[in-house]
Symmetry: C2
Subunit: 338 residues, 2 copies
Amino acid sequence: MGCSSADAKLAAETLLSADLRGIDSHGVARLSGYIRLWEVGRIKADPRISIIHESPSTAVVDGDGGLGLVVAPFAMQLAIQKAESAGTGWVSVQNSNHFGIAAVHAMRALDKDMVGIAMTNASALVAPTFSTERMLGTNPICVAIPAGEEPAFVADMATTTAANGKLEILQRKGEDTPEGWIQDSEGRSVTDAHALKKGGALLPLGGDREHGSHKGYALGAIVDIFSAVFSGANYGPWVPPFPAYVALPLDPPGKGIGHFFGAMRIDAFRKAEDFKYNMDNWIRRFRSAKPVEGQSRVLIPGDPEREAAAFRQEHGIPIHPSVWSDLDEVGQKFGIKL
Amino acid sequence: MGCSSADAKLAAETLLSADLRGIDSHGVARLSGYIRLWEVGRIKADPRISIIHESPSTAVVDGDGGLGLVVAPFAMQLAIQKAESAGTGWVSVQNSNHFGIAAVHAMRALDKDMVGIAMTNASALVAPTFSTERMLGTNPICVAIPAGEEPAFVADMATTTAANGKLEILQRKGEDTPEGWIQDSEGRSVTDAHALKKGGALLPLGGDREHGSHKGYALGAIVDIFSAVFSGANYGPWVPPFPAYVALPLDPPGKGIGHFFGAMRIDAFRKAEDFKYNMDNWIRRFRSAKPVEGQSRVLIPGDPEREAAAFRQEHGIPIHPSVWSDLDEVGQKFGIKL
């Protein structure tokens, strides 16, 4: 495509981290989609990423239309540098594209003894509470917190009841969704996993008003505003779609997709060893909470993905046949044999 | 009680703001509870609030066992000062008490052209996903974002499906809760509004695993860690209870209750007028999203509370007879006639 080899390596590592952690929807399965966006001129292979505004603890980065997999590590690195001098660093990004999983970016802070935060907006699939219109993306938030002897706390979540990847699994299996995941074009909660194609929308975390969907809507909105109103990216229904064949929204108020990153040095609050001692204590106490009957244990955020990564590191990463054939097609385009 | 008159005024303003915004559970109804905590020596009327650690963009505050209504404004003011010089300010607080509603603290940033953030931990009423044990408080998060001509975006939410105040309303009316709000002592979802008294627990936002309760659990956990592991306050099941007659947890790992505050100068990211122009555009676009049948409009976070405040400013604040009699009792204790 014309990426530098350093950028290509960085992007590949980010995609593989998703596959390793069991988030198959955000790993190499996305590669052919990125290529199609590049083919229609919506992703630049050799972006000139730059800082367009900054203060001691903040910056805004212009991703120059580059691949989010490359723009995001630049911005996260900048947040970490700001945190080294100012205690914390906060970077909002305009003019970027899909950045893969949030966790891989947030987790870059962990070995610096920092808390890492990553979020991104995405094209609109989610209806606000009381609306039939798709206004927000699944807008994930990741918060990664270092511990001492225990593995880090890593919460990485879409601000919807269920991430789009889970819906895709049900679609492939031909199964219905639980109530509270999705609504039809009239805003009625349905269990049809294909409702999105028929003008429906994903539901914010909570599902409906009685179960707190206004909170999921607010969380998705905060991600949108931090990622795009802080930076000058597109927001709400104007965020560019991932599929290259879907037309761009008209009259966009900003540039590309927006992200937001944070890094907080733990010793900017308290001696790192005291923080880690108490974080270990926090994790152990929660892990030892009494489980309900039928469950063997209470999980700490990040446990399932870390365990998936350990298993796949040893046993390999299963690749779905359709993903394999997509990769083969991409390989042929560039004269690379799988 | 021995509060300075400045502190008494500040605390009264904070309580009245809650009543004005329609959050009756966190207004003057709490006053008698604060007095009882002071009577048993768990709240200090004349605390020496101090900064015990800091960096250019961060600080940790020791509330010296003071009323949260007084400690929180000190800490929020410090976050704002840090943001003035460093772009953002982040303050974690130990050794505090109940701080009222989060919104009133976060909103102090708005007229400085800053985003304000406030969160607090609280005594354990909430079970993590898959657990029967109460491990977290309702741990609210407030994010207040200034706009230009539009009123500010103010999202203030407990990280549970429903705040405890909503449960108390159903208890008073003798009504059941919807599914997904509460579980019994065995971890089964129930609709008994009195299940907490029988060893049950509130449920994290999402309600159950299938509907994303692991996300609500993670959000509550992040609030707990930012408020207490950053600061040296108590966390998880060790957070001191609000009722003065409930014994303090044994072997506390920290001091008092913890809070966390943030202030982000909007012009540390982008010219304030550009931010406000786009924030107005964001708000207007979301407000104009198509409503579902039976609803007249789509709300922006903060709309209901702002409208309640406008109504009550004009028509007065209704006080429940039991709150009135509590206030009368407090008045008699201190020789003040209502």
